[in-house]
Amino acid sequence: GAGVSQTPSNKVTEKGKYVELRCDPISGHTALYWYRQSLGQGPEFLIYFQGTGAADDSGLPNDRFFAVRPEGSVSTLKIQRTERGDSAVYLCASSGRGQGSYNEQFFGPGTRLTVL
């Protein structure tokens, strides 16, 4: 079956611009996660959705970052007034089984964001 998809695969933008990154989770998965991965680092947690609501947004670095999941499926990560330090690969993952907040996660291919 289809896995997690993310669009675009690459995004180049200028400092100060607004960007939106999209994630399509595996059908039926209720949990959706956003991570940010810099070169040589592990994924850094940003936000976790259970259904339509953000169950934990404590990883968002500041108020320039915002994410939505209005219908409990597709999610969009929005970054305002981008800065060069925002450059990274943004990974989305979804999960659909097991107890607790974090279980087997299926990752998408990521969006590589470059802020010039």
Partner: protein, 113 residues
């Protein structure tokens, strides 16, 4: 804040040799997960350990969870070129009345033919 430390950062082994990566948490974990990321790829789930002292095997891979649920290891027997990649542990811990997940920085495995 809470940390999940992973060592070594890099490991070069001859094909056929064994490989081990270690993960240590500053706090007790609810569970620990292991992921593999191939060069240019995305993390792929390998396993989740939940119980104190748990040991799980997947073919040549052996995963252990410490008795105190603060450390874990992944051991690969007789490495093959297909084992190349970065191995991440991800610790799930209870903090501020909620679960949190923290990934280690990973161990990058290089196989010398």
């Amino acid at each position: 804040g809470q940390q999940v430390m992973q060592i070594p950062q890099y490991q070069h082994v001859q094909e056929g040799e064994d490989f081990t990566t270690y993960c240590n948490s500053s706090t007790t974990l609810s569970n620990i997960q292991w992921y593999k990321q191939r060069p240019g790829g995305h993390p792929v789930f390998l396993i989740q350990l939940v119980k104190s002292g748990e040991v799980k095997k997947q073919k040549r891979l052996t995963f252990q969870f410490g008795e105190a649920k603060k450390n874990s290891s992944l051991h690969i027997t007789a490495t093959q070129t297909t084992d190349v990649g970065t191995y991440f542990c991800a610790g799930v811990m209870w903090e501020n009345r909620d679960d949190k997940i923290i990934f280690g920085k990973g161990t990058r495995l290089h196989i010398l033919p």
